[in-house]
């Protein structure tokens, strides 16, 4: 049996210019330059200007950034976003991991269906989730108040969305994304070497000990990735407060996120320069989070 002869096209010919790799890379680079690099540079330039409507733009140097430092609403939005991020990461990820471990048990009946049920909320749009939770948390006609009233004579007019702004946002996000992160953890758990787990078991390690010394190190890379993904996602919080609080920051701006504030400044007040400055401030905070997360992760790996 003869082996196929190597094709000549894969053999570099000395002195001949190779266009193919560049041609294949070109669409990506062109799109990256037009839709990522140019807007990034443009927004950096815009953050040093004050704009007002279509025809007014003046350079203000670092004026927008110094204004940000004195802007109580910016700090409010930053604080809200950080609280939301912490709430999301600290509640959502352990819950996702627990769910993944529960659904990873090989003897669990209806495992596939349960996985689908847990994952299904991700398939629903954020806008729909916002509308659904506004119906749940509504005062007199809301499902939650109606249910509690039927059970215990609960105050039908209890204002959930006015009293618990941040918990409402976290719960809605939890409902939608816990299954999404669960899938990542599930994939990681399936790659945990069984022989290690069995060996630890034979050595007399308990469930917690095996989790800490076998499972956790094995899923650490995925965990790190999911944490970073959740932080970035949480910083992009916009649609939920927009829907739940009618495009405002909610009662006393307790639901004002950084992106919502950026939107208000850029598209409601018309100062795109200030909005760009908010965007860059957010990017700096995110980069800080990413670096911190890398450092913590590296220390964990070293330990």
């Amino acid at each position: 049996m003869s082996t196929p002869a190597p094709t000549t096209s894969s053999t570099p010919v000395p002195g001949r210019v190779a266009f193919a790799p560049w041609l294949l890379l070109a669409p990506f680079f062109v799109l990256f330059a037009v839709f990522t690099a140019y807007p990034l540079i443009g927004s950096l330039w815009l953050s040093t200007r004050q704009t007002f409507g279509p025809g007014a733009s003046k350079g203000v140097g670092m004026g927008n950034f110094s204004q940000l430092l004195q802007d109580p609403l910016f700090w409010r939005a930053l604080r809200n976003t950080l609280v939301f991020t912490l709430g999301s990461v600290l509640i959502q990820l352990p819950l996702s991991l627990l769910l993944a471990m529960a659904l990873n048990r090989p003897n669990l009946r209806g495992r596939a269906v349960l996985r689908l049920i847990m994952f299904a909320p991700v398939l629903v749009g954020v806008v729909f989730v916002g509308m659904m939770f506004s119906v749940i948390f509504e005062k007199r006609t809301g499902m939650l108040n109606q249910l509690l009233h039927s059970v215990s004579g609960w105050n039908l007019d209890f204002p959930w969305l006015e009293t618990y702004v941040m918990p409402a946002l976290i719960i809605a996000t939890l409902w939608q994304y816990v299954g999404f992160n669960m899938v990542y953890f599930l994939a990681a758990l399936q790659n945990v070497p069984q022989e290690l787990d069995e060996a630890a078991c034979m050595d007399g390690a308990g469930v917690l000990s095996r989790f800490r010394h076998v499972v956790l190190p094995a899923i650490r890379p995925v965990g790190t990735f999911v944490v970073l993904l959740s932080i970035i996602g949480s910083f992009q919080l916009f649609e939920l407060p927009y829907i739940l609080f009618n495009a405002t920051g909610g009662p006393d701006n307790r639901g004002l996120s950084l992106v919502l504030y950026l939107y208000q400044c850029g598209f409601q007040t018309g100062d795109l320069g200030y909005a760009s400055a908010i965007g860059w401030a957010m990017a700096v905070v995110l980069m800080g989070c990413a670096i911190l997360q890398r450092v913590v992760s590296a220390k964990g790996e070293a330990a």
């Binding site: 570099p12 010919v13 000395p14 002195g15 001949r16 210019v17 190779a18 266009f19 790799p21 560049w22 041609l23 890379l25 070109a26 669409p27 680079f29 062109v30 330059a33 004050q50 007002f52 409507g53 279509p54 025809g55 007014a56 003046k58 204004q67 109580p72 119906v135 509504e138 005062k139 007199r140 006609t141 809301g142 009233h149 004579g153 609960w154 105050n155 039908l156 007019d157 209890f158 969305l161 006015e162 609080f245 009618n246 405002t248 920051g249 009662p251 006393d252 701006n253 208000q264 598209f267 409601q268 007040t269 018309g270 100062d271």
Partner: protein
């Protein structure tokens, strides 16, 4: 086995290609793509484009546009878009100076954003002289122009007046033998209808309140309605925020007292929601704020109220005071870059300033025309079975002349957000202070509004363009010299 030759030291890639070839190839691809894209320009139709955001308006305009297109060489192609889509496309086009629809029907807040910046950079055509030349400044109800006016120039033809009345449950009120004609002021309203309250503790499904008013949702718009009625408002004629206006403090204190005070009369039946509509049907609140356009929404979305509700003028803030206000509004603007401004102006008049369209607008949309001459049309005298055979049109027309001036500004949206924050804070104060009477809340309302005003004025002062364009001057204390 031979290892690959590292040629990086010699300025060529591993396959022998020079390093400079990459950027050259990519630039070539970019140019070729651009040429290809330009070789197939976007499909363009002869004539002018028009964007409309309200489905109802679109339905009403279809025959008028067809009629125009049959009689005139300039063809108008009308497109129905979402409100956000119109706003974003319009503002993006104005900012980037890219083509937009020649005619855009737009609401008050997006219009304010389009008016930002130097007056000669506004994306809409200045219609002031055309309106004056055609005598429309006198024909159209004056307050209908103010939302579309910036620095004395008018950028749109007004579509409406939108007076506001109270829609109330006549079946319940009349069954109790109460005559609403005794009600002249808000104090009368609470006193006369007070016996109909079912004392609330939030634990019964049959609670009943007198007024639909709260500190969140569309009630923020209602707050603006009430401040305008009382002589206050969010911005003055220059577009400068006026949150600390004494009338605003008075209204804020009273409304939050209605909702959270010891003599509570108000509750939340959220506007434009199914849950709010159900609460109206249940009689949870007796009266809601109803501008003319909302009659159409009620008719379509709450048919259960047919024959059970009536309209009455808003109670005034003092005896002999204003009995209405204004809520909502739309204009038709012509793009500054439109190729046929004269013909488009004629089309705009055909659409907005004709007795036939005015009649259609009322019959199909329940909206009364801003053209005063049309107010004598008998169509407004038709009895409306939905509203217990009241001559609904005539009731609104009778109040149309009383509609307050309502100014517009790029800071209107921000002022509204700050007003909302004040409402929430005062509501919390009323809940916790133990004495939420209007008198007790008034000093706190003043303090909160003053604080909000200083905050928003930081944004105004920072905006060099706005300060220069409006010629604002500031006192030594940093306040606007009024």
């Amino acid at each position: 086995m031979a290892t690959p030759k590292d040629t990086s030291q010699h300025g060529t890639s591993t396959e022998g290609a020079p390093r400079w070839i990459g950027p050259i190839v990519m630039t070539g691809v970019a140019i070729a793509s651009a040429v290809l894209a330009m070789a197939f320009p976007a499909e363009s139709r002869e004539g002018s484009r028009m964007w409309v955001a309200a489905r109802l308006h679109h339905e009403i305009y279809v025959p008028a546009v067809e009629e125009w297109n049959q009689a005139h060489p300039l063809q108008v192609h009308m497109t129905l878009l979402g409100t956000q889509a119109v706003e974003q496309r319009m503002l993006s086009a104005f900012m980037a100076r890219t083509p937009t629809a020649e005619l855009v029907e737009v609401e008050r807040r997006p219009a304010a954003r389009a008016f930002a910046g130097p007056i000669d950079s506004v994306g809409f055509l200045d219609l002031t002289e055309r309106l004056r030349a055609d005598g429309l400044l006198e024909t159209i109800n004056g307050p209908s122009f103010t939302p579309w006016t910036s620095r004395g120039r008018i950028f749109g033809i007004p579509h409406d007046v939108h007076p506001v009345m109270l829609g109330y449950r006549a079946d319940i009120v009349e069954a109790a033998g109460i005559d609403v004609s005794q009600i002249e002021t808000w104090d009368d309203f609470a006193r006369v209808l007070g016996p109909l309250m079912l004392k609330p503790d939030g634990t019964k499904r049959d609670d009943r309140f007198l007024l639909n008013m709260w500190d969140a949702g569309a009630h923020i718009d209602v707050m603006e309605v009430l401040t305008l009625q009382a002589g206050g408002g969010l911005v003055d004629e220059r577009g400068v925020p006026t949150l600390d206006h004494p009338a605003n403090a008075r209204v804020l204190a009273h409304t939050m007292s209605w909702a959270f005070g010891p003599d509570r009369i108000a509750a939340d039946a959220p506007y434009f929601t199914a849950s709010g509509n159900k609460l109206l049907v249940d009689g949870f609140v007796l009266a809601s704020f109803v501008p003319d356009w909302m009659c159409n929404i009620w008719r379509k979305e709450i048919p259960q109220l047919s024959g059970k509700v009536k309209l009455m003028p808003l109670p005034a803030w003092e005896r002999g005071g204003r009995r209405t206000s204004v809520w909502g509004g739309t204009m038709l603007g012509i793009s500054r870059d439109a190729k046929n401004p004269d013909e488009l102006w004629e089309f705009a008049k055909h659409l907005y300033i004709s007795p036939e369209r005015a009649r259609d607008l009322f019959v199909q949309g329940d909206i009364i025309s801003p053209v005063r001459a049309f107010w004598t049309d008998p169509v407004y005298d038709q009895l409306d079975p939905y509203f217990c055979n009241q001559a609904r049109g005539r009731l609104y027309v009778n109040l149309a002349g009383e509609v307050p001036q309502r100014y517009n500004s790029p800071f209107s949206a921000l002022a509204l957000l700050r007003m909302q924050a004040c409402m929430t804070k005062l509501a919390a104060y009323a809940r916790t202070s133990g004495d939420g009477t209007a008198e007790r809340l008034l000093p706190e309302a003043r303090r909160l509004l003053k604080e909000a005003q200083s905050d928003i004025m930081r944004h105004v002062k920072r905006n060099r363009f706005f300060v220069e364009e409006t010629g604002l001057t500031f006192t030594d204390a940093g306040e606007v010299a009024r």
